[in-house]
Amino acid sequence: MQKMNITSSPHITNTDNTSGVMLDVIFALLPATICGIFFFGFHALLIVAVTVASAVVAEYIWCRAIKKEPTLRDLSAIVTGLLLGLNLPPTLPLWMAALGSAVAIIVVKQMFGGLGHNFANPAITARITLMVSFPTAMTTFVDPFVASDAISTATPLSGSQQIPTDITGLFFGNYPGCIGETSALLLLAGGIYLVLRKVITPELPLAFFLSAAALSWALGDDPLRTLLSGGLMLGAIFMATDYVTSPPTRWGKVIFGVGAGLITVVIRHFGNLPEGVSFAILLMNILTPHITRLTTCKPFGTEVKRDEK
């Protein structure tokens, strides 16, 4: 008798897979990455290369060390490294960038069990770790098209006084900031690509944008500047939408987005930190399991059942 392949139904699946999802995220980030390198020069390229490479190496070493099949093929380490690189200032020493990747992969991701098991976004947490450890290096920004050893400038957000930068500059990314977070235009394009490819749904970023804009308007700031400056675009589109650390439900995503938007503006307006997006996302990451539980929908047909009781 011929040997038959026996599986449980369904016997067909779609062609999506984890590495395909990650590849889409990498594609979506590429324009903003190239733009950042174009604005901030060769050192920016080095930083991104170092974060990606060290993320991959860290994942490989960890998997080998704990005798687990290396999970490099799912490309998630590359995404983490790339996101971290884009979140770093273009003048950062390379060893700090490498350290950040190691923290992201080993401490935040693998120690909790690897992809799908971490409770906080690795890139965000690594950025915060670097920020707390090396506050000066992490807040030293340069004007675009200036060699990286030139005199540093404040980002439009740092300090209590905002440096006037025109909105068009903010929109195209021609202002001092982290490597990948300055060009709102290309980040938005990447976000639209992800939505069209159905990698992410638009609820979370939209809720993030709207709540941040609304609160900053209420506080008397310029809502458009709030949206376009700092890491808000990158954070809302690429970091907050991380599958593992955001709620999978539609209303959960809305709550996450609103919460992160409000916390961002509160930190930016009242706090003395230059940037609030990372902390806002990290705080919402921690709340994610609770938000998910609150927003999980009732099974089909339960409404009728309740009436009968």
Binding site: I12, V21, D74, T302, K305
Partner: protein
């Protein structure tokens, strides 16, 4: 239905679901009657409910339509010989689910002589209809195999107002119901009018997915000509979205009523019948020939000549596959690719409720490689019942009853949508089955 009357749009839309590749390559393949095999193996359990006991012994002469298995149990349906010839063996066979059932093996004389005692039943009252439905051996031909006479039995405290005819056929590849619409539309309408009249049902909704426009047109044209003075028989064009033909989903689309867990459609005033079932019931009342053959779509990439075959019940699957020149299939399914069962032994016979045999080879016989869950939430958003398959997968590793109950696993109808969309290739539908078993075990 009156001429010029537009076709109904769905009244409700259930969340989630998936868009599947249709692969209805056999849609325009007219049914071909299969040359009967030398031997048929007729299982005594071809329905939900009590299995039948053989009523014949080895050496008995049988004809097409002779009753060979019956039982006193209410939820059951008699079984008939599908060929004429001699009972050569009464044996047990192992079904794909692992259970053993009795089976009657009949060696055909090649004549296919109908039983001389067969005559059309007299159907004038509800009781006549129920008796006829039971005697015909009819079970739900959509796949579940629920005995039709049980379904049709009216109950005093549950008035029925809607008859829903399920012609959704949302599984890929299968075109057996579609062929019924194209080849016997009069029988479908005839059955509808008869059941409507006898059961005193107010309205009938014949539901067909919008990927079968020809079937809708054919039924519409026939229905317009038929007598339906008070205009209570309607056609509904459903959106082609899997699992549109699942009972709960279909009832919601057709009536906007939600079927609660553990309830029957009759509890909310509905009765759902497969389109081929109602057509068969009408033919039985005209001819008296019980359910002895079944139209089956034979397709898949291992099949050289995909076809719709009219197959005597009990024909070994290997015989059917030989007839369509299937070469070295690596995976053979009874039923559609979403809910069908993969069989390990092609000598198993065709059952009443089978509507497809699919044979695959190469890549299509393989499954997606499995990686870790990335918590994308697609399974949750896809589940038409609003469940959390990924959460169940985690919970079932160390099953605790209250946890599984909190996840509402019993709502799962195993449609397979979650596993279809999972990018990590997790066996989510299998996990749901495991969880349901755990809950059932605890209930005992």
């Amino acid at each position: 239905m009156k001429k010029g009357e537009s076709i109904l749009k769905p009244f409700g839309r259930v969340r989630g679901g998936v868009r599947l590749p249709h692969n209805k390559t056999t849609a325009e393949a007219e049914s071909v009657v299969l040359t009967p095999p030398e031997k048929v193996i007729i299982s005594m359990s071809q329905h939900i409910g009590a299995p039948c006991e053989p009523t014949v012994k080895v050496g008995d002469k049988v004809y097409v339509g002779t009753t060979i298995g019956d039982t006193d149990a209410f939820v059951s349906a008699p079984i008939h010989s599908s060929v004429s010839g001699e009972v050569s063996e009464i044996t047990t066979i192992r079904m794909p689910a692992g259970n053993e059932v009795k089976a009657v093996v009949i060696t055909s004389d090649g004549e296919m002589t109908p039983d001389p005692e067969i005559k059309p039943p007299k159907v004038e009252t509800v009781e006549d209809l129920l008796l006829a439905a039971r005697a015909s051996g009819l079970v739900g031909l959509g796949g579940a195999g629920f005995p039709a006479h049980v379904k049709l039995k009216p109950s005093a405290d549950k008035p029925l107002d809607t008859l829903i005819i399920n012609g959704a056929e949302c599984e890929p590849f299968i075109t057996a119901d579609y062929r019924e619409c194209m080849e016997h539309p009069e029988d479908i309408l005839g059955g509808v009018y008869l059941v409507k009249k006898l059961l005193g049902i107010e309205r009938v909704i014949i539901c067909v997915e919008d990927n079968k426009p020809k079937a809708i047109k054919t039924l519409y044209e026939i229905a317009s000509d038929k007598q339906d003075a008070d205009d209570k028989v309607k056609l509904m064009k459903l959106k082609s979205r899997y699992p549109q033909g699942a009972e709960k989903v279909l009832i919601y689309s057709a009536t906007k009523r939600k079927l609660p867990l553990g309830k029957l459609p009759s509890d909310i005033g509905c009765i759902v019948m497969n389109i081929t079932s109602i057509s068969f019931l009408y033919r039985y009342i005209q001819t008296g020939m019980p359910l002895v053959s079944k139209r089956i779509t034979v397709d898949g990439n291992a099949v050289k000549e995909p076809k719709n075959l009219i197959v005597p019940i009990g024909t070994p699957i290997s015989y059917v596959l030989n007839q369509v020149k299937a070469e070295n299939p690596e995976k053979v399914l009874m039923g559609g690719p979403m809910m069908g069962i993969a069989i390990y032994d092609t000598s198993l016979p065709v059952l009443k409720q089978n509507n497809a045999i699919l044979a695959f080879t190469g890549k299509q016989a393989e499954s997606k490689p499995m990686t870790d869950c990335i918590r994308c939430g697609r399974c949750m958003r896809t589940c038409p019942m609003g469940l959390t398959p990924a959460g169940v997968e985690f919970a079932v590793k160390n099953p605790k009853l209250d946890e599984l109950n909190a996840l509402n696993v019993m709502y799962c109808m195993e449609c397979g949508s979650c596993a279809f969309v999972c990018p990590a290739g997790r066996p989510l539908t299998a996990v749901m089955r495991l969880a349901k078993n755990e809950v059932r075990k605890a209930g005992k």
